[in-house]
């Protein structure tokens, strides 16, 4: 069966520090991978998606970047965090898009102080 792992689960980082959130998927090949952000009490904002190794699409301009160094690994990074980067970050995967389900990791709580 397929599983998705996301870590760390929580972190508190000072403004200006770097960020690295990692996500891996097991049990499937060539998945579509996604990073979403959810502000407190709000909906999900699609940040990045990837349809293959090295292929990253950004939905919104921001202080973050994403990379996909391996087929089932997706990394969310920042060189210098801003206060506004605080939120709940969710990694997800799917097999294609239309008619398919998207599966989420358990999320990472980021607090920038």
């Amino acid at each position: 069966s397929q599983t998705i792992h996301q870590w760390p689960a929580t972190l508190v980082q000072p403004v200006g520090s770097p960020l690295s959130l990692e996500c891996t998927v097991e049990g499937t090949s060539n998945p579509n991978l996604y990073w979403y952000r959810q502000a407190a009490g709000r909906g999900l904002q699609l940040l990045f998606y990837s349809v293959g190794i090295g292929q990253i699409s950004s939905e919104v301009p921001q202080n973050l970047s994403a990379s996909r160094p391996q087929d089932r690994q997706f990394i969310l990074s920042s060189k210098k965090l801003l206060l506004s980067d605080s939120g709940f970050y969710l990694c997800a995967w799917s097999v294609g898009i239309s008619g398919n389900t998207i599966y989420f990791g358990e999320g990472s709580w980021l607090t920038v102080v």
Partner: protein, 108 residues
């Protein structure tokens, strides 16, 4: 933004009552899905309805879709305290876009 919107933003009902949540979206879709999120957790898929379907059932869940109005509704019948969660609709036109969510509280 292609993000949809759920209505109401928050809903509080007594156990045993029915809960209805609505979703409106902006673009044409292939399918619409509903997801559930327990507080501080990832989202879990509930049900998918295709653009050529008008109604779908799964257990205590009933979903309707009106593509002419670009809207969908999720009905949870005979609610339970364990149904307390946030519920999101998602469209999959070219990506998965989620609505703003309805926070449902079921009071025992």
């Amino acid at each position: 933004s292609q993000q949809g919107e759920e209505d109401p933003q928050a809903l509080s009902i007594q156990e045993g009552e029915n809960a209805t949540m609505n979703c409106s979206y902006k673009t044409s879709i292939n399918n619409l899905q509903w997801y559930r999120q327990n507080s501080g957790r990832g989202l879990v898929h509930l049900i998918l309805i295709r653009s050529n379907e008008r109604e779908k059932h799964s257990g205590r869940l009933r979903v309707t879709l009106d593509t002419s109005k670009k809207s969908s509704s999720l009905l949870i019948t005979a609610s339970r305290a364990a149904d307390t969660a946030s519920y999101f609709c998602a469209t999959d036109s070219n990506q998965f876009y989620f609505g703003t969510g309805t926070s449902l509280t079921v009071i025992p």
